[in-house]
Symmetry: C2
Subunit: 191 residues, 2 copies
DNA sequence: TAGAGGTTTCAGAAAGTTCTGAAAGTTCGG
DNA sequence: CCGAACTTTCAGAACTTTCTGAAACCTCTA
């Protein structure tokens, strides 16, 4: 039997190590959330650690604590900076750069919605509209053709994308939205 | 000079080919949207094509039109089926299986929100809560320590995750939400 | 119930992504 | 300006994801 039989189970693990382990777990959880959102996992881990620590750390500390190379840290940090999620700080008399977490989470989220999701939906919307018009122009005039039906369904996608766009705009502008229209548009018409 | 100098530019391209090209573009656009959402690109391409066509197609047609192997089609189709995004149909007197697109888009979206995003946030929330409690238990009792500060910031993440969860629940339940609480929670306290 | 027609599975190929570590670049105090 | 301290860049390594194509597996019909 080892000393581990005492209770609580980790009574003999140095508190510093336990703290570091917990911070690491939270950072990993934030990392998986961020990865889910389409960012690099390390980006989330870095922000999570900085956020919890509450003060600015030099890159070398991040490399140690998260077990990543200086290259990975540098790349992730400049991307985080680009998204306004982390700030770079210089301290007089210290040649290193320090990094600190943005704490206004809504600011971060809305920026991503605005710059990334909104752009995405605009692109898609344009494709939909262009294809719809093209298809209508191909349809034999006068009669109701298979092509017209396709164009109509495409029109439904256009409407949906527009509602989605409106939703995003409302979110990033006033953070208050009604999903009703989205639900209505996304349901198939009775006929 | 080629015949392409006549206008409109593709007056001499067979309409069937133009139609197919447009459908392909829309399918690709849906594919990139779906990829953005964390699904496989082909899944979106398949759903897009089936949705526009409006009727059921056999797998072999999908392979032809989207230039994918039977294996890829089979895998993507069962995943789409699992998400309730595509239905499998048998036609008497035909040995092949046909596939048709679900047209209730909200049903699809809310299902993903419920089964995937909600599960994700629950997982993260648990990690946050566990770590917060653990850190509090490590802090020296009585006085205000650095550890307590960390635990407080973690508590903020917990609150935020709870609000996010509530938002998702509201969305999948009644499709009507107020983002106000999210915005409020996500902003840093004045101090 | 044999076997033709269709579907799924899966090992390896291809493509895509992220990381490492060292070299090149930058910055600043002296 | 020099050079130590730090940061960025980038080619290739390592890993992950997705796809192919053929073999195994169904499943109807005759």
């Amino acid at each position: 039997m080892t000393a581990a039989h005492t209770s609580p189970p980790d009574a003999n693990v140095p508190p510093k190590d336990q703290e570091r382990a917990q911070l690491g777990e939270v950072a990993d959880a934030v990392g998986s959330l961020m990865e889910f959102w389409g960012f690099k996992r390390v980006m989330g881990r870095i922000w999570g650690l900085l956020y919890l620590r509450g003060d600015a750390l030099p890159a070398s500390d991040l490399c140690d604590q998260l077990s990543i190379s200086s290259g990975a840290a540098s790349m992730a940090l400049s991307e985080l900076e680009h998204w306004g999620v982390v700030r770079r700080i210089r301290r007089p008399g210290d040649r290193r750069e320090y990094f600190e977490a943005e704490t206004d989470i809504w600011k971060m989220i809305s920026r991503v919605l605005r710059e990334r999701e909104l752009a995405q939906i605009e692109r898609v919307l344009e494709v939909f509209e262009r294809a719809r018009d093209k298809l209508r122009s191909l349809a034999a005039p006068g009669e109701r053709t298979r092509l017209e039906d396709i164009a109509d369904r495409l029109g439904k996608l256009v409407d949906l994308a527009r509602v989605g766009r409106g939703l995003l705009v409302a979110m990033v502008q006033q953070g208050r939205v009604d999903l009703g229209p989205l639900v209505r548009f996304a349901r198939p018409r009775r006929h």
